[in-house]
Amino acid sequence: MAEWVDLPEKFKKDVVENLDLMSRFSMRNVSKSDREIVDSVDFYVPRVRYSVKTDGKKCLIMIYSGIEKFWRIEISENWKGNVVVKKTQDTYNLNEALTKEISGTSSILLSSSILKSLLIQESILIGTFELEHDNYDLIPQINVYDPISSVLGAKAGGWDNIFNAKKLLCNWMVHPKIIEFYRTLLFNSNTLEEIAHEGIALEPENMVPVKILENNTKYGNRLNIRRSDFWTAERPDENKHRMIPKFKDSDGYATCRLVSKMHFKLFDDQRFPIKRLNSKVLMKRITVPQNGVVARWNKSECGVWIHMMKMNNESKYHDFFKNETCGLRWLCEKCSDPFDYWYYRNLPRRVIDEAEWIDIAYRSCEKSPLPDEEDLNRNIKKLKDKFVLENESNPKPQKKGAESKSRGFGTSKNSNSFEGTLIGRLDGFSLKKVGSVQFADFEITSRIYLLIEFACRNHQPSSPLGPSSKRQKLTEGEASTPFQPAQLYRKEKYNF
């Protein structure tokens, strides 16, 4: 009678390929030989989100495995100083969470240990590692970085203790210095292709993002530095103000991505010759030599997007522009990766699904941001009402039963024992002594740092929503002018 140990190694590897992350994690801890087999099989995690709140006292780990497929671990500290862990799978409903109270650790250390145990393996590649802070000041972020780096990264455990991720993405509040710390010490530079800052301006006009304002700068042959602002409101009259600072001091280009078909008219209104870039894209190239600026209006059946840059930077991106077939990125259902499309489309839904964890939403960065908070809260309230209405009219079908849950993510409520659950079995679960981190030790790659800083600068300390609730009023005439850079430059309104 055959046993597991009798099966051919190739078959065992095929079995491991069919396991999800949590089962793979269990399999890895069965025996030494099974660990070797698991480690020899590559695994891809599309996205990980790590959010840190209130100086690390509350943390959230979201590990996405596909559309509407995720493991959610929310960790907080209670009044007794104990850590409370709530785990759910494929649901945001904390009433369905497995809950456990643990003493002798902290939220930040426990969450770091979980990340390390689950995701730091040479065979695991993370598509996007997303990091979120709830405070835009540097010092609180350093205070959080300190314990994280005592568990994760090269300082804590050498160069085997780093994440293999293709993208490092931070919410708009994360300080460029902190991003650089994370990049250099927590991530494998051989796999990292992009560092990005993202934020969303939540306004009740739409329940999904309809516009992206973005800037991209290439660093070397591989690394792209990006800043993307998602918008749920069209606001076409504001695009011109928001794009220009995004490229005027940069070696990169700024892009405005517009999903609504109504913007086709904007493209058609530009009285410049049309050039066919490829089988799908028509382009109008508009130059303003006196300012050294070029705008490339692109139209495909998906939508309209506009690249703007300094003229002397255009040639650097020529091949990319020429071969681009859809410039809407994650706004395009047809052309983008289905997971990414789902993820970004549902960003505004966080106001109802994860109301506490919406630090990706822009708010004022001023020291007394009360009016803006009110503004944001009002927007959130309106959006929430819309989502509630939508949920009532289109209730979601019931999810599968408990048998489809991963280990430790079942539906039993308030399990006081962690015996037999995933968290109870995580490697590195016990506390290690936290060493102090000397920031002087970090060698910051100044060039990348400057690029990240540039990407962030336009929104520090203010967000695209503006510094106060009374949003900066556009001057008369400008408010009603659609985004038409050629006309603007001819008026020599902007000096670069």
Partner: protein, 188 residues
């Protein structure tokens, strides 16, 4: 040349007009081969069903048996239990000439049978069935803890493994010493 290719032609009814080329060709009668497992029970399988097995398909191609020769010389698979071979044959017959569906729910749920089937299918090189088995085996441990996996699949812990290894070494050492002593005694 395989016996399927040697089949005699017979008056075949014309195919529907949608496939005029095949309607013109005479229908080749199906060839059968014979296999037996450990229990020596012979199973009759069509050449079409055996196409699933790369191993048997290769054997048929190389041997070039006629139907009579094939009947007289069933392929022996002494390393496969009779019931497992029956399972394999049934699967091959069931999926003869059909595209394989994404899932197969008829595979055994018991570990012992499933692992025996895996070994047989792996030996017979039936790729599609091996993929189903692989998914089925993975399903057995989905959502299980390391302890539960060890229990389900009877995997020894590292400590048990080491102890068994030590024991085996000790036994081998003793046996070697015994053999040396016996050899020395013989020499005297």
């Amino acid at each position: 040349m395989s016996s399927t290719e040697q089949g005699t032609s017979s008056a075949a009814p014309a195919e529907p007009t949608t496939a005029p080329e095949s309607a013109a060709a005479p229908e080749v009668p199906e060839s059968f081969y014979y296999v037996h497992g450990k229990d020596k029970v012979v199973h009759k399988v069509s050449a079409g069903a055996l196409q699933h097995s790369a191993l048997i398909h290769g054997m048929i191609s190389n041997l070039g048996y006629t139907e009579e020769q094939a009947k007289a010389n069933p392929f022996p698979f002494e390393n496969i239990d009779g019931d497992i071979l029956q399972m394999v044959v049934d699967w091959c017959n069931q999926h003869k000439g059909k595209p394989t569906p994404p899932e197969d729910t008829n595979l055994p749920k018991q570990k012992e049978k499933l692992f025996d089937l895996v070994l047989a299918v792996n030996y017979l090189e039936i790729k599609e069935l091996l993929t189903y088995c692989c998914k089925q085996v993975a399903m057995m441990v989905k959502g299980k803890s390391p302890e539960e996996i060890r229990e389900i699949w009877m995997i020894p812990t590292d400590a048990e493994d080491e102890a068994a290894e030590k024991e085996a070494k000790k036994r081998a050492g003793k046996e070697a010493a015994g053999e040396t002593a016996a050899a020395a005694g013989d020499a005297k």
